[in-house]
Symmetry: C2
Subunit: 141 residues, 2 copies
DNA sequence: AGCCAAAGTTTGTATATACAAACAAGCTGT
DNA sequence: ACAGCTTGTTTGTATATACAAACTTTGGCT
C-alpha cells in the first residue's frame, strides 16, 4: 500500500513520520560508501567546515539534543575521525587527519543523496515542501 | 537556533527528520490523556474501526514494519485494550471492551492534535505539504 | 573569599523502529 | 502425498534519539 492511499494520508503525524523514515533509508544507502550513518556524516561535515565547533553549537545546527550529539561524537572518536579537547566547561571538536581525508567522499555522498531524492519530485515543489517543513518545525520548537 | 536558519535548511534529510521529531513530540502530548504513544493510539483507532484487522494490514496502513506492529500490539495487549486470536497462519486483532470504551477519548486526542498543529500553518499550505510528503514517501518506497 | 546560579557536557535509562532470521501454516507441482 | 516455496507473524538484536539527572566550570553577588 502507498502512503497516499492510507487511511491517514491527510494526517500530519503520519506523513511526517513516514517520509522521515523513508528519507532516512535513502540517506543510509547514500552514506554507505563512507560507512557512516547520515547523522554521523552530517556532524562530521560540520566539524570539517568549522574545526573546533562545540557540541552545543552542533546540536543547534543539526537540531538534535545535546546528549545525542555526545553519543554521535563518541562514535566518531572511536572511529578516529574526530578528537575532543576539553577547555574548561566547553568541549571543542576537531577533525583528525583521517577525518579530513574523508571530506571528498563525504561530499560525493551528499551529492548522491541530493541527486537521488531530487529526481523523484519536481524541484520547485521540493523546495517549497522543505521550506514548509522547516517553518512548521520552528513553530513546533 | 531555528531550523530555517540552520546550515542545512535546504536539505531534505534534515527537514524531514527535524519535522518528524517535533511532530512526534506534539503528538505525544496530545495523546497523554489516554496514556498511549501516538503509534499505539493510531493502531488502536484502526482496530476499533475495523475489528479483526490483521497485523499485515495494519502495517500497510500505518506504513510500519510487521515486526513493529507486533511490538505495538503486544503492548496494547498488556494494557488489555486489544486481543489477538490466531487463525492458522494469520492473526486477527480485536479491541477489548476496555479498548472500545476508549474510543471517544481517542477521538478527542486526535482532534486536539489536529487543532494544535493546524493553527501553526496555513491550512492550504499544510494540505499541500502533507500531500507532497506522502507522494514523495511513496516514491521512496 | 565563598557560595550559589547558570551554562555546557556527559551518563543512565527509555522509547520507537527496523532488519534478519526463525517459525508456522497453507499451497503447488509432480 | 509430500517436498519445497510462499506468506504471515514473531523473536533476537541493533540503531537513533531523547529526557532527566549528574557533573563541571565559570561568573556574579554578598
Amino acid at each position: 500500500m502507498k502512503a497516499t492511499e492510507s487511511k491517514y494520508n491527510k494526517c500530519l503525524y503520519f506523513a511526517a513520520n513516514t517520509l522521515a523514515r523513508k528519507v532516512e533509508k535513502l540517506a543510509i544507502e547514500s552514506w554507505k560508501p563512507v560507512k557512516l550513518s547520515p547523522s554521523h556524516a552530517y556532524l562530521l561535515l560540520m566539524v570539517l567546515e568549522q574545526p573546533g565547533l562545540q557540541p552545543g553549537c552542533l546540536a543547534n545546527h543539526l537540531q538534535l539534543s545535546p546528549s545525542t550529539i555526545t553519543r554521535l561524537i563518541e562514535k566518531l572518536e572511536e572511529k578516529k575521525l574526530v578528537t575532543r579537547s576539553t577547555e574548561g566547561k566547553t568541549t571543542l571538536v576537531f577533525p583528525s587527519s583521517e577525518g579530513k581525508a574523508l571530506l571528498p567522499s563525504l561530499k560525493d555522498c551528499l551529492e548522491d543523496f541530493e541527486k537521488n531524492s531530487c529526481c523523484l519530485i519536481d524541484i520547485h515543489e521540493r523546495e517549497r515542501m522543505v521550506f514548509s517543513m522547516c517553518t512548521l518545525a520552528d513553530k513546533l520548537a
